[in-house]
């Protein structure tokens, strides 16, 4: 960046120009030989900087300790100086010089702003050239990001009714070719499958068999009742007492 290397930082005040001990670098090159001209230049610069720092420190101490009495004592001197300044301002055309100085300051500030913007753009471009965005994205844990997103809240903010209202279902249905769909359905095979599952024959057999057996049972039980009735009538005619000994057999019937 500059000849001073790391010793130069972006200044925010005059004192930050002074390097800290940790920031000082030796002027001795790696091979051990002393570069005399550079040593002298650096020493002069260091001396000037140190003198500036100490003078600033001294001024600060003086201002702190003797500021108030000095300001009182200097009142008449300041008034005198202000009068002198007014005279000088009138005769030496200080206003013009000041305007020129201010314009120069403004110009320098704008130049610095332009330069810094250019530097920033160049640095940003260089950084982007060096950075592999794919790698950066690969290092991002998207799952964690998704976990932090409240999908329910997002869904609640969606107005489904409004979306559905905007859909023209009639138009969609009108575009559906129902005949083509029906042509793809094998209705005879489907019907056959349903009939196979239902087993209509078994149902008819069961129901007719149940009906027949119920009828036969009713007939048989009626026969039983008539049997008993006839027996009782005959027994009464024959003046017989007690019930008939109709069974059961000693052993159950065998076909």
């Amino acid at each position: 960046m500059s000849r001073w290397g790391e010793e130069v930082t972006v200044p925010d005040s005059g004192r930050s120009l002074v390097p800290r001990p940790s920031e000082r670098t030796p002027v001795r090159p790696p091979d051990g030989r002393v570069d005399v001209p550079r040593l002298l230049a650096a020493a002069a610069f260091g001396l000037a900087v140190e003198a500036q720092r100490r003078s600033l420190d001294a001024a600060a101490v003086v201002v702190t300790r003797v500021g108030s009495p000095l300001r009182i004592l200097a009142g008449p001197a300041v008034a005198l100086a202000q009068g002198s300044v007014a005279v000088a301002r009138h005769h030496l055309d200080l206003d013009r010089w000041a305007a020129r100085g201010l314009a120069e300051q403004q110009r320098a500030r704008e130049a610095a702003t332009r330069a810094i913007r250019g530097v920033i753009a160049a640095v940003a471009a260089a950084v982007l050239d060096q950075v592999d965005l794919d790698q950066v994205v690969a290092r991002v844990d998207l799952d964690q990001v998704v976990d932090r997103v409240d999908l329910d809240a997002v869904a609640q903010r969606i107005d489904l009714d409004a979306i559905v209202n905007r859909i023209d279902l009639d138009a969609i249905v009108a575009r559906v070719d129902i005949n083509a769909i029906l042509a793809r359905v094998d209705i005879p095979a489907l019907t056959e499958e349903v009939i196979d599952e239902v087993d209509l024959g078994e149902i008819i057999r069961e129901s007719s068999s149940t009906m027949a057996s119920e009828t036969v049972d009713a007939l048989r039980v009626q026969g039983m009742r008539v049997d008993g009735l006839v027996s009782r009538i005959v027994d009464r005619i024959l003046l017989r007492e007690g019930q008939r000994q109709t069974g059961p057999l000693d052993r159950p019937p065998r076909p």
Binding site: M224, D227, G228, R244, Q245, T246, P248, P253, R254, P255
Partner: protein, 168 residues
Amino acid sequence: MTRDIRYVEARALQGHRAGFASRVVADLVDLGVVWLLGLSALVAAGVIGYLVTGPPFRLPVLPNWLDGSAVAAIAVGYLGLSWAATGRSVGKQIAGLRVVEVAGRRLSLWRSLTRALLYVLFPAGLLWVLASRRNASLQDLILRTAVVYDWAYHPADEAQPPVTRPSR
């Protein structure tokens, strides 16, 4: 296939000797069956005659003695074989009856045929059921058989259904 008997009174009477009315109903049905068998025999004879001698088709006319004998033979054969086979003819199947020996066993063939012959010769023997304390016809007394209520179908190799034995 043994199905449940829904009538309580019928369940209680299974295995008991059947009364007069049920047996008359069964015999009337069997009479109809015999008549149908005789008619079928006549038609079969007519068809055979038609095939042999050619048209016209006519039913054979039997002399009276042969007519009666043929019907009797059909009845004896039908009833005897039915009772010997399953203990029940078509009529007894409908009425829910079964012919067995008094010991409960199935009738032997000769006893079954004899019983059928006795019924054909003297059907009035059935009337003794009215008077008998054990609901026995004359044929039953002679051959030591009985007709019982038995609605269930049970093949020979299947256990017999338990018989409810009420107090006498």
